[in-house]
């Protein structure tokens, strides 16, 4: 049986009838067309699908859309405002925090949560705070620098 869900995504109220088994990541990508959230490992490990649900970074491949009924969801598309990059996005731009870009949306979402909880993290704390996000290109060094850049900007 299908269920109606009402979810606020990036500030806009959305409602759709969905199957209970529809994962949040597929709701965002396939129903809403917000393809910035990536599907990586599909096994709750890589963090490419990370979004904020009621302010908490979660892996949207490990959550059903029906569980997000009534929630506020923020995806990478919700980060820049009025043509201005979010400081974490700017950090990734300025410090070359990406190569192929596949992990980047999840990295930025997770890094924004990290800076909210700890506005002045050490390098070690940045690495620890991004433990749930895998990057296969950069060796993480530039990502850590991008987050340090953002911490100075915030």
């Amino acid at each position: 049986m299908k269920h109606f869900v009402h979810i606020n995504v990036n500030g806009a109220d959305r409602s759709h009838e969905v199957e209970p088994r529809l994962l949040l990541v597929h709701y965002l990508r396939d129903v809403l067309g917000l393809t910035g959230t990536h599907v990586g490992c599909e096994t709750s490990l890589c963090g490419a699908c990370t979004v904020l649900v009621d302010g908490q970074a979660v892996k949207s491949c490990t959550m059903f859309a029906v569980q997000a009924d009534g929630a506020h969801v923020k995806t990478i598309e919700g980060f820049a405002a009025d043509g201005q990059l979010h400081p974490v996005q700017e950090g990734f731009w300025e410090r070359h925090g990406l190569q192929c870009g596949y992990c980047t949306p999840g990295m930025i979402v997770a890094a924004s949560q990290l800076l909210e909880r700890n506005p002045a993290p050490s390098r070690e704390e940045i690495r620890h705070g991004l433990e749930g996000n895998l990057c296969r290109c950069t060796g993480y060094q530039h990502i850590v620098e991008a987050v340090e850049y953002a911490a100075r900007k915030v």
């Binding site: 088994r21 994962l23 490990l45 963090g47």
Partner: protein, 288 residues
């Protein structure tokens, strides 16, 4: 990976959840944080016909001190436990264990009750809950009962919960004075689960010797267990390096050892000993 079809209901009271379970107990599964169940459903290892989502029962997420115990609501997330400043003071093993689970995103969503009820043989919480000698408060439509942690884990992915019951609360006795805790874990390099994890709680007597010790072990066998041989060897003795190392040799006594790509049975026995030694040494050094 798409799970099989299922029906979904999200009750807003515990009573409603319990009557749904009573009605559908054979085909229903409780969905808490979903970080054990949803991966299993995506692999179609689990195909429940009905999911009863208790994620809306916000009053099951709490950390309270009452009756000489820390009482933790089953829907409390790993992150809430990890970040509780009060717990770091009064029962530091809970935040230490919470911080060792998965990653930030998993800890934001996963719950202590969900993890314990799932009883993964490599989960972290069972080791800590055993070492702390906690009590599980479980409820059904007909009443409530308390299950000691040492009776709760029955077999691989199997607990003492009946199909019509929900784990509601975990009660941890406040540690007596001169008690130190530690959790030592070898995480699987990919999944972060415990290849071996040992939680130790050590209480010293006034003369510094070991008054009592309790040791919970996960990852080693089909279910987490109390390492009674280690506890017995420690009790009443000095807590020097040699004594601790001697006691730790009993960490895998009498259990069937898991064997997988991460570790053979022999290697696991060795790891259990090493991590037991580390956990006990660290716990003993933390006695204030």
């Amino acid at each position: 990976m798409i799970p099989a079809q299922f029906d979904y209901v999200a009750p807003v009271t515990l009573d409603e959840a319990l009557s749904l379970l009573a009605e559908h107990q054979d085909e229903a599964k409780i969905l808490a944080g979903g970080h054990s169940l949803i991966p299993a459903m995506k692999l179609r290892f689990a195909q429940p016909a009905l999911l009863v989502d208790i994620g809306r029962l916000k009053d099951l997420a709490y950390i309270r001190e009452e009756g000489g115990q820390v009482r933790v609501g089953a829907m409390t997330t790993h992150y809430q436990l990890e970040s509780s400043a009060r717990l770091r003071e009064i029962c530091p093993l809970l935040p230490e264990c919470a911080a060792a689970i998965g990653d930030v995103q998993v800890r934001n969503k996963g719950t202590i009750g969900g993890s314990l009820a799932h009883s993964d043989p490599a989960a972290d919480w069972p080791a800590a809950i055993l070492a702390l000698d906690a009590e599980m408060i479980v409820v059904s439509a007909v009443g409530e009962r308390a299950i000691p942690a040492s009776d709760f884990f029955v077999d691989m992915l199997t607990t003492a919960l009946a199909p019509n019951e929900i784990l509601r609360e975990i009660r941890v006795p406040l540690p007596p004075p001169r008690t130190g805790h530690a959790y030592a874990k070898l995480p699987h390099p990919a999944s972060g689960f415990a290849v071996v994890g040992v939680a130790a709680s050590v209480t010293r007597g006034a003369d510094g010797t070991c008054e009592s010790a309790s040791v919970g072990v996960t990852g080693v066998s089909v279910k987490a267990y109390r390492a009674r041989g280690v506890e017995l060897a420690l009790k009443g003795g000095a807590l020097g390096q040699q004594e601790i190392a001697g006691a730790a040799t009993h960490a895998a006594d009498g259990v069937d050892l898991n064997e997988d790509l991460a570790a053979s049975a022999d290697y696991r026995r060795h790891l259990a000993e090493v991590y037991a030694r580390r956990a006990i040494e660290r716990a003993a050094s933390r006695v204030s």
